[in-house]
């Protein structure tokens, strides 16, 4: 098939498996975020796609051909490093034109292409500046332009925005996504920031302990996490122990949830429900009784912490939806069945 396919990729360092039988298939033009906590193997996986590390086993296919034995400099890819790795002895223009220089392009062609790219990243006229004279955000753009100079098939970025301050990072996320959509280039970004992944990705690949735990569009990852690790890592969630009652319904904190059936063969499970899906109402009926312990009013949203059966459950709502509750008040928690995800525990 066309696109990038990872087949049973494993990378071991001694007895430690940094990446453990990773399988992934990405069609052309997709924006993929490799997401996970530090040490989960996401950077190692990216470096194997780049050819900077050799997989211990498995193969990497690009448009059906195995590129595993191809050395990095023949893979036709662009990569942005966490440190950016701009060449300190070259000017901005020469940095961007470096891949063309390697391939023996004429001086005029180099200049033409680097000016074109500088325009693309809104840095026209910066060509002759030394790299050291640029701000963090500008360097970021130059690194991106240099990686794109040859219109590569693959665009790889290793935590590219981690050195920027929060505001600039958010702006660059949007810019990077728009740039990728304009160029239609297959892009892999390594990040540990789930917000960043949600902003940019077509496909989020969540990794933990060297394994790919789930690969799906961001909203699906958010709504239907594959396991408790993914649910906990992506956004805020309430993870509650659940059991099956006599009728096969899921029961949480001693209260059965209407219309939520325990999957076949399970007696114990976890239920994940997002804070914005938890509704607060009067005590009684199907509601789980609890006591409000703290209310965090952030203006735009209100987070209510409710203690029930020794667990703290967070509910988030806008001020418009939420009748005023105060700490110490008894409330009923309603967990709508359609918002609950039952996970193997």
């Amino acid at each position: 098939m066309s696109g990038l396919v990872l087949k049973d990729i494993t990378k071991s360092f001694g007895s430690f498996k940094a990446v453990d039988t990773a399988n992934l298939s990405v069609p052309h033009g997709k924006f993929v975020c490799l997401l996970g906590p530090s040490g989960c193997g996401k950077t190692t996986l990216l470096r194997m796609i780049a050819g900077l590390e050799d997989p211990s086993s498995g193969e990497i296919l690009l448009d059906g051909t195995d590129i595993t034995p191809v050395p990095t400099h023949k893979r036709n890819l662009g990569m942005v490093f966490q440190s950016l790795a701009l060449f300190p002895h070259l000017s901005v223009g020469d940095n961007i034109a470096y891949p063309l220089r390697i391939r023996g392009a004429s001086r005029e062609d180099q200049k033409k292409r680097s000016d074109e790219l500088l325009k693309l990243i809104h840095l026209s006229g910066f060509s002759d500046r030394p790299v050291a004279k640029l701000s963090g955000g500008q360097r970021q753009r130059v690194a991106i332009a240099r990686a794109l100079a040859l219109s590569p098939k693959l665009f790889l970025l290793d935590e590219p925005l981690s050195a920027l301050d929060a505001k600039l990072r958010e702006a660059m996320q949007v810019e990077l996504r728009q740039l990728q959509q304009r160029l239609g280039i297959t892009t892999f970004v390594v990040t540990h920031d789930q917000r960043e992944a949600m902003t940019m990705a077509d496909l989020v690949v969540v990794m933990g302990h060297g394994k790919i735990l789930q690969a799906a569009p961001p909203i699906e990852i958010y709504r239907k996490p594959a396991d408790a690790f993914v649910a906990d890592f992506i956004g805020m969630t309430n993870l509650l122990d659940a059991t099956a009652d006599r009728l096969g319904r899921v029961s949480v904190l001693g209260q059965a949830i209407p219309n939520l059936v325990m999957p076949e063969g399970l007696t114990k499970a976890s239920v994940s429900i997002r804070p914005e899906d938890v509704h607060l109402g009067p005590v009684g009926g199907d509601a789980i009784a609890g006591t409000v312990t703290f209310v965090r009013d952030l203006g735009g949203t209100i987070e209510t912490f409710v203690e029930a059966g020794g667990k703290t459950i967070v509910a988030v709502a806008t001020p418009r939806e939420r009748p005023e509750v105060v700490a110490g008040q008894q409330v009923g928690l309603i967990l709508p069945a359609e918002a609950c995800v039952v996970l193997k525990s």
Partner: protein, 284 residues
């Protein structure tokens, strides 16, 4: 961070000790040497205080000019050979595991503990006809019969490069260890082969270090006076050899001092020129 300029005398106190050492062991002996270079030689004794230029005038001859030229060319060649060998070697060394690096560095340090005399005689044995490496070449069929490789210019050069190489590696090592490895990886993702990436990225990024190392080895090689005598012909003798000869065997201190002053001035001029060229290139 802005540092405050030292104000009181006590602020300058850390400088007293190194300052004193510099005065006692450098400024005084060097001034004495400059003074002696203007003294009159006394053939029956040592020298008498005077202010004459005869010592310098005697130096300005074709013979001494040739020796000076040879000394400078030899030192430059030693410096270039050392850096050309040591730079890639040290670069590859920094890519090895920590433990391997330590073993190599310890071995190199142990070479430093050898005196110039031992190095000289070891190489003179290795280059000899009777017990030298050419016997090995004969044994494996590369040569018909063993030959003596010394005395020759190449023997002198080899010995001096061998002696200066550990210093070169130890000076280059810290800079190469600190070099960001992603620079090289970035060059490779942009299509540069490993060798090309090394030439395009590592060498230019460390140009100042390379220039500094060249100067250090150059100065180091300029002072060598034993190896040229052990491994070379009289035509391969450096100015340092002649200075020793004049000072110790001919008891002509004023002339030896004049040659030494001249040598120092010439090497300072060369070092200055190198730095000047380096700065101009940096400005571009």
């Amino acid at each position: 961070m802005k540092r405050e300029a030292p104000k009181s005398l006590a602020d300058y106190s850390p400088l007293f000790f190194p300052g004193l050492m510099l005065i006692v062991f450098f400024v005084i002996p060097f001034s004495t040497m400059i003074a002696v270079s203007f003294f009159q030689r006394d053939p029956s004794g040592f020298y008498t205080p005077d202010f004459v230029f005869t010592n310098y005038a005697r130096f300005l001859s074709l013979f001494f000019g040739k020796v000076l030229g040879f000394s400078l060319v030899l030192a430059v060649m030693v410096a270039i050979c050392c850096v050309v060998i040591a730079f890639p070697f040290t670069f590859l060394l920094t890519k090895r595991p920590r433990k391997v690096q330590t073993i190599w560095l310890v071995c190199l340090l142990s070479v430093l503990s050898l005196s110039e005399v031992i190095i000289g005689f070891a190489w003179s044995t290795l280059f000899s006809r009777t017990a030298g490496i050419t016997n090995l070449f004969v044994a494996i069929g590369l040569m018909k019969e063993p030959v003596a490789l010394l005395p020759s210019f190449w023997a002198v050069l080899t010995g001096m490069v061998y002696q200066a190489l550990p210093y070169t590696i130890l000076v280059l090592y810290p800079a190469l260890v600190r070099l960001d490895p992603t620079l090289l990886e970035a060059a490779r993702t942009l299509g540069a082969s490993p060798v090309r990436a090394f030439m395009n990225v590592v060498v230019p990024a460390l140009r100042n270090t390379i220039v500094a190392t060249l100067i250090m080895v150059f100065v180091f090689a300029l002072g060598s006076y034993l190896l040229p005598q052990i491994l070379g012909r009289p035509s391969h003798w450096t100015l340092s050899v002649l200075i020793t000869d004049q000072a110790i065997y001919q008891s002509n201190m004023p002339f030896a001092a004049a040659m030494a002053v001249f040598l120092v001035l010439m090497s300072l001029a060369l070092v200055g020129l190198t730095l000047l060229v380096g700065r101009r290139e940096n400005a571009l």
